[in-house]
Amino acid sequence: MTAFEWLIAPLRYPFMIRALVASALVGGLCSIVGTFVVLRSMAFLGDAIAHSVLPGIATGVLVAGRGDRRSLFWWALGTSILVALGIGWVSERGRIKEDTAIGIVFAGMFALGIALLSTVRGFAVDLVHVLFGDVLGVSVGDLALIAAFGGAVLLFVVLFYKELVLVSFDPTLGATLRLPVAAYRRLLLVLVAITVVVSLQVVGLALMLAMLVAPATTAFLLTRRVRSMMAVGALIGVASGLIGLYLSFYFAVASGAAIVLVAIAMFLLALLLTPRRALLRRPARR
């Protein structure tokens, strides 16, 4: 097969075209929102929101039955937004250390989800799809939801870009300028929550964190400004989605995992090729 044929072969199948579009959209979206996740050290939060979606999905399965998958999207969306705002509220109170509070919510919600799902006899297949994605089953309707909500998230990022960057870098300046710093922080949490749900079908819960963090971190190594970090991150995310899916097609490996592995590979490449930027060493002084 020539290289061209190799590129074109998967495109003969409508399910592959849908999967490629979904992967590209999700890759780009995760990287853009992931820029803030990385810059604000929200990785743990992002992981927690992802895992906390499970009880919402489980409730949806119990209520609507396993046949109605579209409603699961709405259950997941509602749950993740509530959880995101809840985590924001808990950490604002400041009485418990933030990562402890998040960890408790995270583990508790996930366990609740497993418990609920286990009452559905034969839940193994559903759980596998939720954890690891189901990109080959993406329908046109699913694509529409991904595009619509992904687009809404991107719109908010564009509209409030400089405010979000400001409160991420210097919340005290935000307070000095009398900006609603807490509201922006909550907005960011909600955007992460929506991104997680939109990306579930492509990546799955278990690998969500990698998609949020890896392309953005790679871009961090390669750029010096937030704007370019976001743009480069988006490119890397889209590329990971597309390349990962092609690899999944030709090597018969799970697509979600393949996409994440490509993203990580790009990160490692960037790490090796860029001069030391002390990525992993934090400043010692308080």
Partner: protein, 283 residues
């Protein structure tokens, strides 16, 4: 990459009342007027009995040992913390009514790896005026360039902030305050960790801000005495306010630092002497 010092809880309540335009300054009122001002963290009173008037354009050094409440005082004046007793008036109004106050954080509180350049940071000072949905225009960019030039950073304007030296980092924040068109600038330990030349640069820059009301938290009494016309000595309560000679008397210094510090006036400045054999600890 965390913000070490998240804006404290109270800020969120304060910032809820968003005012677009800064309130009109009362011409008859001093720039800053505090009467028995007190502040607390939780139930712990960390600042009290602060009483002083500062006129517009004056430069005040706020000094005292660690934990004396210097940062707290600055944040209260800046409208970043609520106060629990007494009054504080900035140009005749409550601090949070003003958009013309700039706060320069301690260098250790800043994430220097954040991917922003000097220009980006200075531009942030304009965000309050621009509002969301609006992008910086030509006039705004010129304002930023002017501010950067005034602090002498024009050839570093496009560097990522982590590449700057300590002195340059301070100058950048001053440029941001200029871009913000701040009339009051609050600086928290701007000289910490700077070598002597950088210190001199920053102090020279501060001297040139002669139309700006300046409050600078310092730990170096010598600098405070030599370069500032007004000082405020704190140790959780205000010990003295006034000229350096008036405030840095032996009894006041003993009250603040536990008796092991003396100030000596020399011909061209002041010398602050620490008696290292002194047995009493500065608690």
């Amino acid at each position: 990459m965390t913000r070490k010092d998240e804006a404290p809880v109270a800020t969120r309540e304060i910032a809820k009342r968003r005012t677009r335009a800064s309130v009109v300054h009362d011409a008859n009122a001093p720039a800053i007027a505090a009467r028995d001002l007190a502040a607390a963290y939780g139930d712990r009173i960390v600042l009290r009995e602060v009483t002083f008037d500062l006129s517009a354009g004056a430069h005040l050094a706020v000094v005292g040992p660690n934990g004396a409440g210097k940062s707290t005082l600055l944040k209260v004046i800046g409208g970043l913390l609520p106060w629990v007793g007494g009054t504080i008036r900035v140009h005749g109004h409550a601090p949070r009514d003003h958009l013309c106050i700039a706060y320069v954080p301690q260098r250790s509180d800043v994430d220097w790896r954040f991917p922003v350049t000097v220009t980006d940071v200075v531009l942030m000072g304009l965000t309050g005026r621009l509002g969301p949905l609006r992008r910086a225009g030509e006039r705004d960019r010129r304002l930023v360039a002017d501010a950067i030039e005034r602090v002498g950073l024009e050839d570093r304007a496009h560097r990522q902030i982590g590449e700057l030296s300590g002195g340059e980092q301070q100058r950048m924040f001053i440029a941001r305050a200029i871009a913000q068109e701040a009339e009051i600038v609050l600086m928290d330990e701007p000289l910490a960790g700077l070598d002597v030349p950088s210190e001199a640069d920053v102090l020279a820059l501060l001297d040139r801000l002669d139309r700006t009301t300046l409050l600078v938290a310092l730990h170096d009494l010598g600098v405070a005495a030599a370069r500032f016309h007004r000082v405020l000595l704190l140790r959780e309560r205000m010990i003295g306010f006034g000229t350096p000679d008036g405030v840095f008397r032996p009894d006041a210094l003993e009250a603040a630092y536990g008796g092991c510090v003396r100030m000596v006036r020399t011909a061209d400045g002041a010398l602050v002497v620490h008696d290292s054999a002194c047995p009493r600890e500065v608690a």
